[in-house]
């Protein structure tokens, strides 16, 4: 038991160090993109001095005394703010608090990436298991070739092709289904009412193309890993033994193969869950879907440091935490794991 406790302690320390590393690297990389003072506090002589000063203090670049803060000072303020929840104001969104930019985007991303990921994990695992059960046969070969084709496909191109195929009636077919290819809901909706069935339907309608695009890419990875880890287990001696002693194929699958083949899936699923917080940059960008990924890319384009500092960290920290949780689960279900 103390062994396990030691492993958990080690992993937690590592996670904390990694998170600190992410914060540091992220802050300094972003601040090397340009000088926020130059970007934000225009030095043109036509702009009155007090306006400049006000702006400088407002965006946290100057101290209360009106003197610009150094990078080191800003780093410590950034660390403090991260914990306190006061994430500063966005440059691009005209001084909107960062948290008000990030949180709505996050909830939209949760709708798009979250639902799509969870459904594809389920389908992907089933497909992978089917492929493994028929390994070496035509179904497996076709399936593996198919998944490999989609596995490395760039999301942005798939998104473009989906738009090309489903926005205007292509190939001269009038019955071809057409789906909206941008935004989260129709422009005609001024105020979104979540309880209005028409609005909900509109959201689902807009969700169709981006979520399918995302699903195809995610599913390929999941089913490939699932297949390979199951095949790995299937060649083990204890499976052969189980089969030799006449155990039903279904029981072998449930008692011997699945429990031993799932550990690699735990990490993968945890990571896929974490990527929800990172957002689907490419899909959100091509479909102009204003989630976390879209916000991040916009923030990079407009040098919106306050937003960028927190959004990128959000994705990174989610991955670290997901990895840590996956390790804990693995420790619980796989007694062979020792600290590495």
């Amino acid at each position: 038991m103390s062994e396990v406790r030691r492993v958990v302690a080690k992993r937690s320390i590592n996670a904390v160090i990694t998170i600190f590393g992410i914060l540091t690297l992220n802050f300094f990389l972003i601040n090397f993109m340009g000088d926020p003072l130059d970007l934000l506090v225009p030095r043109a002589p036509s702009i009155p001095e007090n306006y400049r000063l006000e702006n400088c203090i407002r965006y946290g670049l100057c101290g209360p005394d009106g003197l610009p803060l150094g990078v080191a000072d800003r780093f410590f303020i950034y660390l403090y703010n991260l914990v306190s929840g006061n994430w500063g104001r966005s440059y691009y969104w005209r001084g909107t608090p960062v948290i008000d930019v990030v949180m709505p985007a996050l909830s939209w991303t949760l709708i798009l990436v979250g639902t799509s990921t969870i459904i594809t994990i389920a389908i992907g695992m089933v497909l992978g298991a089917m492929s493994a059960a028929r390994r070496g046969r035509a179904f497996d070969l076709a399936m593996t070739g198919f998944t490999l084709f989609f596995y490395g496909m760039p999301f942005f191109w798939l998104a473009l092709v989906m738009q090309l195929a489903f926005t205007t009636p292509q190939f001269g077919l009038n019955w071809w289904p057409v789906f909206p290819s941008s935004q989260r809901y129709s422009q005609s909706i001024d105020v979104l009412v979540w309880t209005d069935p028409d609005h909900l339907l509109d959201i689902v309608y807009h969700l169709a193309l981006p979520s399918i695009t995302l699903a195809i890419g995610t599913m390929a990875g999941i089913s490939l890993v699932m297949r390979n880890s199951l095949v790995d287990v299937m060649t083990e001696d204890y499976v052969v033994t189980a089969r030799a002693k006449g155990l039903a194929e279904r029981l072998i699958l449930r008692r011997h193969i699945l429990p031993n083949g799932l550990p690699p899936m735990v990490t993968l699923i945890a990571l896929d869950m974490a990527f929800i917080f990172g957002g689907a940059y490419q899909v959100e960008y091509v479909f102009s879907y204003q989630g976390i990924g879209w916000v991040t890319i916009t923030a990079i384009f407009y040098y919106d440091f306050p937003v960028l500092q927190f959004v990128v960290v959000l994705g990174g920290v989610a991955v670290v935490i997901a990895n840590f949780l996956a390790d804990l689960i693995l420790l619980r279900i796989d007694p062979r794991i020792k600290v590495t």
Binding site: L141, G152, Q170
Partner: protein
């Protein structure tokens, strides 16, 4: 006196080269076996064929009877025809010659960036796996940081730090710097197992130093894995470059497939239904990456004996 020391030096030199040649032949033999198995693998064969085709296109590209890739000689945005199989773009340039040109740029970026990533990853993997201790801790935490940060955001921010629109060299370095983590992990794991093997202990007992052990015993055993990983990194690098290019972050005079797609998107190819402009460069990209995926799958089955048993 001078003469004897010279002959001694020559003899030592010859002795060394003999040992090295033997070692090398062992490595190449193993290597040859892997190559043979890959080409005859049912996934690896087609993968190698695809890659050979694209590398050939990239190499003979300049001598193909095509209009210059940067010359605006034709009417704008033509649909595919016999004269222009992929059509022309918004400046009246032939898209087929641009896609061929793109294969050169994309493959070049892919190979060079993955060489950087491979060297970096191998060095980190060797150091962390062989020495362990604080070096392992420090480098693995850095590795964790790189693996955890959202890949694309890291790439774009790093690109932005190094300059607004990127030249080819900067892209190669940026991609190389961001994609060594996985190789480092794999090499480290392999080094950890190899260093416990008996022949390493024997070499140490015979008085071999750390560097000798790494050079003669560890590295030859890790090399096939490094090679396989470097090949896979090429696909990641090509993907990274095209994504950066699509987001408009690179210098457009280096026509990669991503640049063509980015121009297509910006010029409204989608709205005007110029499908070939979007589909063709993307298809080239996807098929090349498919080739790498097939090859990677085959290498995985060949290098992982457990999967090979099937």
């Amino acid at each position: 006196m001078a003469f004897t020391s010279a002959s001694h030096w020559i003899r030592r030199k010859i002795g060394l080269t003999e040992v090295r040649r033997e070692k090398l032949s062992l490595t190449t033999k193993r290597f040859g076996e892997i190559m043979w198995a890959t080409v005859h693998h049912r996934m690896g064969g087609p993968g190698v064929a695809i890659l050979v085709f694209f590398v050939a296109v990239a190499i003979v590209g300049p001598w193909l009877p095509l209009p210059h890739w940067d010359a605006s000689l034709f009417p704008r945005t033509l649909d595919p025809s016999w004269e222009h199989p992929f059509g022309t773009d918004h400046l009246g340039r032939d898209l087929l010659s641009r896609v061929v040109r793109g294969s050169q740029v994309s493959l070049l970026v892919g190979f060079l960036a993955s060489v950087i990533a491979g060297v970096l990853g191998t060095l980190v993997g060797l150091v962390t796996g062989f020495w362990g201790g604080w070096r392992d801790e420090v480098l693995m935490r850095i590795n964790d940081v790189f693996l955890s940060l959202p890949w694309l955001a890291l790439l774009i921010v790093l690109a932005a730090v190094l300059g607004g629109t990127l030249s080819l060299e900067v892209i190669i370095i940026v991609i190389g710097l961001t994609s060594w983590s996985f190789t480092a992990r794999v090499v480290r794991a392999q080094v950890l197992t190899v260093k416990e093997r008996v022949f390493v202990e024997r070499a140490r007992a015979a008085g071999a130093g750390n560097m000798t052990i790494i050079r003669k015993h560890i590295f030859p055993n890790v090399f096939p894995l490094v090679f396989a990983n470097t090949i896979l990194t090429v696909a990641v690098a090509i993907l990274s470059e095209s994504t950066l290019a699509f987001l408009g972050r690179v210098d457009r005079s280096n026509v990669s497939w991503g640049v063509i797609l980015s121009e297509a998107e910006e010029s409204g190819a989608l709205l005007n239904g110029h499908w070939a402009w979007i589909v063709m460069p993307g298809l080239a990209l996807v098929v090349v990456i498919f080739g790498f995926s097939l090859l990677g799958y085959a290498l995985d089955e060949i290098l992982n004996p457990k999967l090979r048993e099937r």
